[in-house]
């Protein structure tokens, strides 16, 4: 009997090395998997199990799907061993995704940390697809060091888009880096975003999310103008296995991108 836990067998077309610890899988699902920016997939590595990842490719690209993954544990180490031609499994998409209609006519401050830029790239690609609908897209991105900057090859292209600006920083510089050094929160100090007509969006490690959120609030964003890509362990993806809740919300079903106003009251919001 076909169950809701059955993965869709999917071929790995290509594996792109983004950084020493981040790879992008280019996948060719047997049939297109429509998704909204911010929605995620459960990726099966054969025999290893499943983990949730948000596609990093555009929702408007339906023939292939890209998922960008940091090597962080047993399953993701297996992901990094995958080669073109290997098979993986997909379930999904799950979650709500970003409320793009709410973002229309607004300025968007998009703040990423490390591999957190991967899920944000799906959002950015969706925004770039209809740039005239959005007033401005201001991207702030930070990584630990220059080697860990994800999608570096695309920054120039993004910056050239009308209404799009990008600032990049690294926590600590090495050899050839002549860009900014410091935490990504530093980039938010002198933002010229118009707070009365803006939304802030962030994705990154939990500790970064916490301080980015505090910074958003301190520069004048209200809680309901902030969308955070929240992470918890997820097994089912459908709000039934129990573990990914913050308050009454199941991040897999109600998120993973949550409006901060909905979750700020819960003591365990940042782990």
């Amino acid at each position: 009997m076909e169950t809701i836990f059955q993965p869709l067998e999917t071929k790995v077309l290509d594996v792109i090395t983004e950084t020493p610890t981040i790879k992008t899988l280019v996948l060719k699902p047997p049939e297109p998997i429509p998704f909204r920016a911010g929605q995620f997939m459960q990726l099966t590595v054969y025999g290893e199990g499943e983990a949730p990842f948000t596609p990093s490719s555009s929702p408007f690209e339906t023939e292939t799907m890209e998922i960008t993954i940091l090597k962080a544990g047993r399953l993701t180490e297996a992901v990094h061993r995958l080669k073109p031609g290997d098979m993986v499994g997909l379930r999904g998409p799950f979650g709500k995704g970003y409320p793009l209609h709410k973002f229309e006519g607004k300025e968007l401050l998009v703040v990423g940390g490390g591999v957190g830029l991967a899920p944000l790239r799906a959002l950015l690609n969706a925004l770039f697809h209809d740039l005239d609908k959005f007033k401005r897209v201001s991207i702030k991105y930070g990584a630990r060091n220059p080697d860990e900057l994800c999608f570096r090859r695309q920054y120039q292209q993004w910056q050239q888009l009308p209404g799009v600006d990008l600032e990049v920083t690294v926590d600590s510089a090495n050899g050839n880096w002549d860009g900014k050094v410091g935490l990504v929160t530093n980039l938010l100090d002198d933002t010229d975003i118009h707070l009365d007509n803006a939304f802030a969006v962030s994705c990154g490690p939990e500790i970064m999310l916490k301080f980015v959120t505090l910074k958003f609030l301190s520069i004048g964003f209200k809680a309901d103008q902030i969308y955070l890509s929240m992470n918890r362990k997820m097994s089912c993806g459908m709000g039934i296995c129990g573990r990914c809740n913050i308050g009454p919300y199941y991040l897999c079903k109600d998120g993973p991108d949550m409006n901060f106003a909905d979750i700020q009251q819960y003591p365990d919001v940042f782990g």
């Binding site: 025999g47 362990k233 039934i240």
Partner: protein
Amino acid sequence: MFQISRQKLMDGFKRFNSAYPFYITTAQDENYQFQYIPINSWEETFFAISPIRTAQPLKSFFYQPVQKVAEYPKTNGTEDDFQPLAIIGPKACDLQALKIIDKVYAEGEYPDTNYVRARKNHIIISTDCLNAGKYCFCTLMNYQPYPESDFDLNLSQIDDRFLIEVGSEKGQEILDTFFKGTRKAPDSLVKAREKLRKKVTEQVKKQNENFHYYQSHQNAIERHLDSEIWADLGKTCVECGICTQICPTCHCFLLYDLPREDRYERIRVWDSCFFAGYSRMAGGLTPRLKLADRFKNRFYHKFDSYVTNFGVEACTGCGRCIEGCMGNIDLRVVLTELEKRVVLKENLDLI
């Protein structure tokens, strides 16, 4: 409402067992269990109505502790050993608990196919409680120690006669097909059942009279989300997870994949929110790392977020968690303590 003699009931079970394997309650010792009776192996000596609910929650027949839920790569015509069962003897607290789990597994956006199939096909012949178990508190949760709905047939023993109540079309069909010699029950028998039911209800109420809930548990928990009280209330917890495993409404699980000869199997196993690894992520971040936070989360889930999401508390007062707890943690005491503090605080605020 029908009555049937003991002998005719036994004959009926024999016929019924030729079509369905049974799980039937046994009452040999203090812990009542379900006993498996394969097709065509019915003996009259198997029949015993357990006085109270079994140790094993009813959910385990619908949502098994360990269950293969998928395999890949997909093969044509995968083997499937699903077998409709007749489950004889569950009590009202467990029937209501299944309804609570239905909200998650059957009525949500993604119905669980295995669960829904079991719910559709298993036959439930429930029975009234014959007394109050030591830890029972169904009345405190506004339930009763006798089934009023959500069964196919319900059986009540009055002396040497049995009263059968039909709860579904399927139940009527089974009664008509397998149980010969039923007669319409006289009012006197129905009244006798009412009397017995009232007696047991009073017993449950009596043993819980020291617990009074003045307001909703949800309110009491909302007021303690950021409180130190949880560390205190849960200080004897040893994180064994038994309260969640035997709880008839707990439904958390984990998926994992196993290699087989020529394919992989996906297994679903019961999990427990009391285990630290329950929410541990790659990279090591563990939300609710402190036991007190996990302890709080169990109560938060059952009595707060479940109400928010589904309009019902995820507890039917079966008392298994109290009975099974090695740390002597009593759910009723926890709820009462929370309420006491809210009431105390409200009174202080008034002053």
